[in-house]
Amino acid sequence: MLEPALAGPAPAARPAASARTVRWAQMRQSATAYALCTPAVALMVTLLIGPILAVVALSVTDYQLGAQTMAFIGLDNYADMFADRVFRTSLINTLLYVGTVVPGSVALGLGIALLIEAGDSGKAFYRAVYFLPVMATLIAMAIVWEFMLHPQFGLANLALKAIGLTPQNWLTDGDLALWVLAVIGIWQAVGFNMVLFLAGIVSIPRFLYDAAEMDGVPSAWERFRLVTWPMLGPVMLFVVVITSIRSCQVFDTVHVLTKGGPNKATEVLLYTMYAEGFEFFRSGYAAAITVVFLGFVLALTLVKIRFLDRQVHYQ
């Protein structure tokens, strides 16, 4: 407070407000606050906190939808899970998918953002074009991709044939399918990462580049290495973490294009969980898979929060 006048009158200067009316006003305010929060709290408890606790509880039972009984079976679901070849494949595939989509979409997103910011012409056009897949309904686009990858009449194979290469069975070849899905994942994520990098690049102070130039840093590469790269460090970490979180939730393209096949080659964590929980209705087992999935997402989210905490202060 700079001056008392700005800070408002001190309580003592308000003789009319006795201690009792002040207390009453406070009680009224807190009653109002509870009333305003009640709907949100009730929904939070029934739709978020309750279910997340229920997932953990279910994961130690043998519950199946429609079953009359339910028994506590300890960690049996987890033991079954890690003994199951499908689950292990699913876990490995998810890691491979994340391990491809994250570096791919982060590097391309950064490259595109740098190229867009390196000139003046066409900026808005390029930004819109690269962002378009982020907006477009992924299921509809997955169906379009399916037709693009059609073995006989799809754009991909027609283009390969036109330049004299062998056409591929993109989605039915077990060695290719997961990588095809990863390319679609990159196609969809790159615009999102580009936008975050653009924001990061724009906020780098211009004078740092001027200073680098005056200090005799002539090449664009050196300026990138000495100024842009270190200044983008925090954004980079942020982008890597959220892309990891988003890509380990891959489901839509798998469900529409491959159903986890061929021969489990594209089985991923969320798809396995979906199949167990909502096709075979083995709720307890699906809950155990969910817990593993949750473990991944939470670990990644905690990294993000640690980082965000250093950047912004909530309170």
Partner: protein, 277 residues
């Protein structure tokens, strides 16, 4: 950083960006191109972008008549609009209380909001499904809407925004005898329009495009949302009639894409919010 001075680099910049853009746009171009073609020109052994014989009316009519595409779109509008309206109705009062009112449970409640931010929607699908099965609301609009009526992200975002609203504004409203509910809707809401718009775009895009949850709870055709509808259409055509299928895909992505092209900056801001989540 030298396209402005180096003409060679300026050309290279456009070459690289255009090559990338061609890849990004290829699926959209192929989709639209196919939606214009008669079957005879879809099943060719070479690439043809523009058909000799336009089949627009036939394909789009087929898309709207063979599947209840309008019904799917209407369902999409009903579900996304209801979700957004309820999210605002629930989150705004709570966000106001968290930002501007003093009460004992405030730190605990804010802690709970931050905790709930960590919960990915996929992770609670099994218990929510069992709950909805138990109370008998599976396969209904309610099943699609209810889980998303609470947006802790919305509460968090609006609270952060309300913190920046000066207390004087609220005190003045109280002096004028406006109730606390009145303050939320008549004083706070108007100041929050920019933040609310960004949140609205984020929410509408997320739920218009959502596939996972509706897939789990819906099985009647008359309740299908656009993503489920287009997927059902494709299963029913068994991947033979690509013209109408691509026409249906075009129609379903059109509303958001057109809205995006009209107000790009707002959309990008709104979607970039997802990163905060």
């Amino acid at each position: 950083m030298n396209a402005r001075r180096n003409p060679g680099f300026a050309v290279l910049r456009h070459v690289l960006l255009l090559a990338g853009a061609a890849f990004m746009l290829a699926p959209f171009a192929w989709m639209i191109s196919t939606s214009l073609k008669p079957p005879g020109e879809i099943f060719l052994d070479h690439i043809r972008w523009w058909p000799n014989d336009l089949h627009v009316v036939e394909n789009y009519t087929a898309a709207f008549t063979r599947a209840p595409l309008l019904r799917f779109m209407l369902n999409g509008v009903i579900v996304t609009a209801t979700i957004f309206a309820l999210q605002v109705a629930v989150a705004l009062p709570c966000a106001y209380a968290l930002a501007k009112l003093r009460f004992r449970a405030r730190p605990v409640l804010f802690g709970a909001v931050l905790f709930c931010l960590l919960i990915p929607p996929h992770a609670i699908s099994v218990p929510l499904f069992l709950l909805f099965h138990q109370i008998g609301i599976l396969n209904s609009y309610a099943a699609m809407v209810v889980p998303f009526t609470i947006s802790v992200f919305g509460i968090f975002l609006m609270r952060q925004f309300f913190l920046t609203v000066p207390d004087d504004l609220i005190d003045a409203a109280r002096m004028d005898g406006i109730s606390e509910m009145g303050i939320v809707w008549r004083v706070m809401l108007p100041t929050a329009i920019p933040a609310l718009t960004a949140f609205g775009i984020f929410s509408v895009v997320a739920h218009w495009n959502d596939y996972f949850w509706p897939l789990i709870v819906i099985n009647s055709e008359h309740l299908l949302t656009p993503p489920l509808g287009v997927a059902a259409f494709r299963n029913q055509e068994a991947g033979t009639d690509f013209g109408p299928l691509m026409a249906a895909a075009t129609v379903i992505i059109a509303p958001l894409v057109i809205a995006f092209l009209m107000v790009q900056r707002r959309f990008i801001e709104g979607i970039a919010l997802t990163g905060m989540k």
